[in-house]
């Protein structure tokens, strides 16, 4: 009887469930299997145990480079983006037209096509003397720089792109968090003679902790998944990761192994490594926040 009444419910669930299993659950299971095989997409996969992970984590120089690049990039991009987003939210949280215009301005990159944005940066950092970046350094008397062909500039440029593109999103979340803090907290603090810096330090920051955790974790996750910026801005004739792999990160490496070299088993091992890294880093972040809250 209960099942009979439930029948339309299952029918409603069915279309989504079929697609969910067919294009998500089943592929994930497959991907996990591929990670333990040698597979090139043509011949049937052959089981190799932990060989892919062994090679990836302990022997592969390019993977090590991708990991180091990712961590440096993620640390810099997430810290700067979050800090700036918080500053912007505190400065432009109001409802005046000036604040609203500023918020619109900072949010604009979040709705602009990622590829278009990457192409703009490529144009700005063009190595010729008429490129915008070179014109600006020229004002300070510096010689033109081959921005995109100099390995040590790769990550700073990617970080700049991430901060420019991401601070508006964090700002919007922080504004929502700020507006949720009851005004009475500030009133009683003012009565006790707290200045605005003390109010920020002892009321705003602690109250914003859950929001901050949220912004940091979502930024971490999306920063680890960077692909378009590397692929478009540092596109050279044959490589995916920029000059001397200076911009090689996890997803570009996954793309390179999977779709230009067709080592699908190995690329699946990279994909699961991405999952493991994101998972561990978010767990650590959650733990740290919890520990800080108990202090």
């Amino acid at each position: 009887m209960r099942l009979r009444r439930a029948l339309p419910g299952y029918l409603m669930l069915l279309p989504f469930a079929v697609l969910f299993v067919g294009f998500l659950v089943w592929p994930l299971a497959n991907s996990l299997y591929f990670a333990f095989t040698n597979y090139n997409g043509v011949k049937a996969p052959s089981f190799v145990g932990f060989d892919n992970f062994q090679r990836l984590w302990f022997e592969d120089e390019r993977f090590r480079k991708a990991i180091v690049n990712s961590f440096v990039y993620v640390a810099a991009a997430v810290t700067l983006t979050t800090g700036l987003a918080l500053a912007l939210a505190v400065a432009f949280r109001g409802t005046s037209w000036r604040d609203r215009i500023m918020r619109t301005l900072f949010f604009l990159p979040a709705v602009t096509s990622t590829i278009a944005v990457a192409l703009i940066w490529r144009w700005i950092f063009s190595g010729e003397d008429f490129g915008l970046a070179n014109t600006v350094v020229g004002w300070f008397g510096a010689e033109p720089v081959q921005w995109l062909a100099t390995p040590h500039w790769t990550i700073p440029i990617l970080v700049l792109m991430a901060v420019w593109g991401g601070c508006g999103y964090g700002m919007v979340i922080f504004v929502a968090g700020l507006n949720a803090i009851p005004e009475e907290h500030y009133e009683s603090a003012r009565l006790d003679g707290a200045n605005s810096w003390q109010q920020f330090w002892y009321i705003t920051l602690p109250q914003l902790k859950p929001v901050t955790t949220y912004v940091v974790i979502t930024s971490l996750i999306s920063a680890f998944q960077i692909f378009e910026a590397v692929y478009i801005v540092f596109r050279a004739v044959s490589t995916v990761g920029g000059v001397q792999d200076s911009g090689l990160m996890l997803v570009p490496y996954l793309y390179d192994m999977g779709f230009t070299k067709f080592q699908l088993g190995y690329a699946s091992a990279i994909a699961w490594s991405l999952f493991i890294i994101i998972f561990i880093v978010s767990m650590i972040q959650l733990r740290v926040t919890r520990a800080l809250r108990e202090l």
Binding site: P27, G41, F106, T114, Y214, A271, L274
Partner: protein
Amino acid sequence: MRRNLWPTIARLPLYLFGLTMLVPFYWMVTAAFKPVPELTKNPPSFVPTDPTLDAFYEPGYDPDQRGEQIVSGLFQRFTDVPGGFGRFMFNSLVVATSITVLSLLLASLAAYALTKMDLPGKRFIFVVIVASMMVPWQVSLIPNYLIVRNLGWLNSYEGYIIPALAKAFVVFFLVQYMRSIPDDLVHAARVDGAGEWRIWWRVVMPLMRPALAAMAIFVVLNEWNNFLWPLIIVQSDDMANLPVALSRLNASNAFNPQHMAVIMAASLLTSLPTVIVFLFFQKHFTRGIALSGIKG
């Protein structure tokens, strides 16, 4: 007076920073309207002295005359694709709208069944859906490519649309929102003899409007900007969406700065639709993001 002045002064660097936010956009727009010789002038002109539409369409362009200085406008390129650049705009539009409409329909149906109906096993199903959100989508990229290849969907709208419909996050979000709709409304409709499909469409869906708007914005933005998936499933020229077309334009022309006007023109046309929609529906965007914390 002193009290009111300080916050403004403290904010001054942030106002300046706000202006620099616009610089990349400005640099794109000016480049799209500069004639080729002005584009490679040193020092660059900050206001186009002789604005032109040549980067979009060059009336005097002669395909037989391929000199150093002669490059065609955007809509005259991609001669092997019927419709040229317009075709890519069409592809992007078709894909983004159909994915948005279909995925929201499917997800809201699933969310209705999971929240408002008494289904044995629904807790387990919901837990699986939430758990799947923890895995980055790139993990399923390779198997999905093989599945789509085996189905013969490479280079087709099916390949774009059908795998993109299983959006666990949308179901999760709609379930959260639907829980705030009182069950009594649904019960009352049932007592009146309305079927479940009717209740879903007539009673629950109208109340879901804010949530649906937030998700529609999220899905449209993501699909309009989607790059990695189209990059691997599109091999022929005519099935590219705008991001893939931009990337190809870049790959074949970027080493010659003379083509930068066309590339910037294409970037402008690709970003304009989402920016305009954003400026019109700004409130929905920010509210949706604050509501769901989604990454646009």
